[in-house]
């Protein structure tokens, strides 16, 4: 029986199934699926990330003023110029100050918000959304609101109105670097904008902590509150904390919008990207020097990220918890 059916089945099958099999074969092929999924993103990555980076590296070896297709090769001159340019070196200092302010404060505020929202018994969705909403706001819009209404230097600016109740004179928050009030404006704007997002990350992590751990701790006599937080919650959040700190540092490196929009024609308060923007796209249009600065900055970011990954154990997976 079986011997008669076999040829009957194999006979007509190839003629019909041949086209279907190549399609199915393609679909089944791991290589094809890999490229199908990866190529759109890879194309985007190459066109919008790697080509510009490559072009930057190329430009950084040329005298490229007012052009992005230069012909005058000058070797490492742009690098020497940028590394000895006090403005560029200073901008790295500005970034460090900024990161020192913004990373710990955002970490603490978003964790605090997450803890508060997590303990809510009612209207949790409402508060979660309220704190998350600023994330959807543009940095430029927020900067303008901060500059023109909250921290405007005139008597009807919100902060000056509040200070006025206590008989304190108007402060021009952004006019002068001495005292450096501009840091308050910049840090508070970014804090408002990004805390909600990191709160969501912490909230997710908090909800992932098994309830048994708290029960066990309570049985062992740990007091609720600080002791439980210190010895249960915080260690359980380690992986998330590491990720948050890393993301915050990267975001701080990329800081541009609020500095650019809040500080007009200053020689201070310029993080690297703003400084490079003025070098490359400002009045000098020096794309060579600007690109050299960008390459230096990229190298720095890579080194710092690798170093941080090493000491904080990011990306080592579960055991890092």
């Amino acid at each position: 029986m079986s011997t008669t059916t076999k040829p009957a089945l194999t006979g007509p099958a190839p003629a019909k199934a041949a086209p279907a099999r190549t399609w199915r074969g393609l679909r089944g092929s791991r290589t094809f699926n890999f490229w199908l999924f990866v190529s759109p993103f890879l194309a985007g990555l190459i066109i919008f990330i790697y080509v510009p980076i490559g072009w930057s590296v190329y430009l950084s070896f040329f005298d490229a003023r007012f052009t992005v297709t230069p012909s005058n090769f000058i070797g490492f001159d742009n690098y020497t110029y940028m590394l000895t340019d006090p403005k560029f070196v200073h901008s790295l200092g500005t970034f460090t100050v900024f990161a020192a302010f913004i990373v710990p404060t955002t970490w603490a505020v978003s964790l605090g918000l997450a803890l508060l929202v997590n303990r809510l018994r009612f209207m949790r969705a409402f508060f979660r959304s309220v704190f998350f909403l600023p994330t959807a706001c543009s940095y430029v819009a927020a900067s303008l609101i901060w500059k023109m209404s909250l921290f405007s230097g005139v008597r009807f600016g919100l902060m000056n109105t509040v200070l006025g109740w206590f008989g304190i004179d108007d402060i021009a928050w952004l006019a002068s670097p001495d005292p450096p009030w501009y840091w308050l404006v910049i840090v508070s704007a970014r804090l408002w904008l990004q805390s909600g997002f990191y709160m969501i990350l912490f909230l997710a992590a908090l909800q992932n902590i098994p309830a048994e751990l708290y029960e066990a701790a309570a049985i062992d006599g740990a007091r609720p509150g600080w002791q439980t937080f210190r010895h249960i919650t915080l260690p359980q959040l380690r992986a998330t904390s590491t990720a948050v700190v890393l993301l915050l540092l990267v975001a701080a490196y990329q800081a541009f919008d609020e500095f650019y929009n809040l500080l007009d024609k200053t020689t201070w308060g310029r993080p690297p990207l703003v400084e490079l923007y003025y070098t490359a796209l400002g009045t000098e249009q020096d794309y060579g020097a600007g690109s050299a600065g960008a390459v230096i900055l990229t190298a720095l970011i890579v080194v710092v990220t690798l170093f941080q990954g090493r000491i904080m154990g990011f990306g080592r997976g579960e055991e890092s918890k």
Partner: protein
């Protein structure tokens, strides 16, 4: 089993579609809206680029003029950001560069071949233009831009407040600082020079008897008088009598008209808006003497039309500039006097501009003629930027003016060397 595999297949196709969209979206965004607008098919397409004028109606007026031009479709790019020059410089390097654009005469644009020689369209009417405007647009005998408007910049003040405080119109920087102190009250600051003070750099230099560059394009601003002026300005900055962090910048009349200050540095363009808000309670005076040996000064700024020499339609663009800014005198007069007040650079139009013949506008014209300093084409954006840094370093920050000027010298020398060898 089959139901399940169907479901995974659906999810996959959705993911695939999403991936495709994610890539396609930014690509699509690159292609659309480059400001050239739709074509109604009457020949060539041109793009003109302007900074956002603060006076209502200017944008509509420019679009109206463009629509009246029959030989090409002219689209208008209206740049609202505060740093028009960066936007312009960056755009000029791309394929979306405008065919014609407004800017100030600056020699680096000539040297880099960015702006086209407009001698052939300006020469026939050269005699009708303000000679100083022709000079400031000329390099080696060729004229590179058509002046549209001249905008003198000076102080506006409210005489009623001066009377109340017992202050007379300041003739020296010291008197201005003194007046600011007397005029300051709990609700009002004495004087407003703009949030970053960059607009008074040149007047401060000129009123100290110095200049930006001399006739041979050498540094002329680094003088004891300028240093003294910077020290005085620092004093004013720290005194609490200077309005800082105002919601609008110096070019907007709001600070004076809304009572935030008693004196405001601004320009002729805002005069109609000032008059509307303050009526007759309005006076003007030039930037006073920085030092006793100096002379009051007024910066005769303004805007000029240039043709992008690297564009695809240089000839069509030149024809358009000739049509609008040389031939169409009624539009030129409308542009100069119907929105803000500007001084028409052409004497035939200035003679016909009745709005500028009497009262405060006439006083503005007098300041323009008596104390005016025009643009120097050799004084480029990078040098201007360097002087802004001087203000930042030794007025807004308590730095040493001598050191700040030294830093400025370095940047200006670097630029001068590149331009003039």
């Amino acid at each position: 089993m089959s139901a399940q595999s169907n479901r995974t297949w659906d999810r996959r196709s959705i993911l695939r579609a999403a991936a495709g969209l994610a890539v396609a979206a930014p690509l699509a965004a690159c292609g659309s809206n480059n400001g050239r607008g739709g074509g109604s098919g009457s020949g060539k397409r041109l793009t003109q680029m302007f900074h956002a004028y603060g006076e209502p109606g200017v944008e509509q007026a420019l679009k109206r003029y463009a629509a009246a031009y029959k030989k090409a479709d002219v689209a208008t790019q209206w740049i609202t950001s505060a740093d028009y020059e960066s936007k312009l410089f960056a755009t000029l390097l791309t394929d979306n560069a405008p065919d014609v654009f407004e800017f100030h005469p600056q020699i680096q644009m000539v040297k880099s071949g960015q702006v086209a020689d407009l001698s052939d369209i300006v020469d026939p009417v050269k005699a009708d233009f303000n000679a100083a405007d022709i000079k400031s647009h000329t390099v080696d005998g060729k004229i590179y831009g058509v002046r549209m408007i001249d905008d003198p910049q000076f102080f506006f003040y409210r005489p009623s407040l001066f009377e109340k405080a017992g202050v007379k119109v300041p003739e020296t920087l010291d008197e201005l600082i003194e007046a600011a102190a007397k005029l300051t009250t709990g609700k009002m600051k004495g004087v407003y020079l703009g949030n970053d003070l960059h607009s008074i750099v040149n007047p401060l230099i000129w009123s100290a008897g110095a200049d930006t560059l001399d006739d041979k394009n050498r540094i002329a601003y680094h003088t004891p008088g300028v240093i003294e002026g910077l020290k005085k300005l620092r004093g004013l900055f720290a005194s609490g009598h200077l309005l800082l962090g105002a919601p609008t910048d110096f070019w907007d009349p709001s600070s004076l008209s809304q009572g935030l200050c008693a004196i405001q540095f601004c320009g002729m363009w805002a005069m109609p808006q000032f008059q509307q808000a303050l009526g007759d309670d309005l006076g003007i005076f030039p930037f006073p003497k920085t030092v006793d040996s100096g002379k009051p000064s007024v910066y005769n700024g303004g805007w000029s039309m240039f043709v992008n020499a690297k564009g695809d339609n240089v000839d069509a663009a030149k024809e358009y500039v000739k049509w609008l800014w040389v031939d169409q005198k009624q539009y030129q007069e409308d542009f100069a006097t119907s929105y803000g007040f500007h001084i028409p650079p052409r004497s035939s139009i200035a003679a016909a501009a009745t709005k500028l013949k009497s009262g405060l506008p006439a006083q503005g014209v007098k300041l323009f003629n008596d104390y005016g300093h025009f643009d120097n084409i050799g004084w480029t954006q990078a040098m201007i930027q360097a002087t802004w840094d001087v203000i930042a370093d030794c007025v807004r920050k308590d730095g040493d003016p001598e050191a700040a000027l030294d830093t400025c010298d370095k940047a200006v020398t670097r630029e001068l060397k590149k331009l003039f060898g």
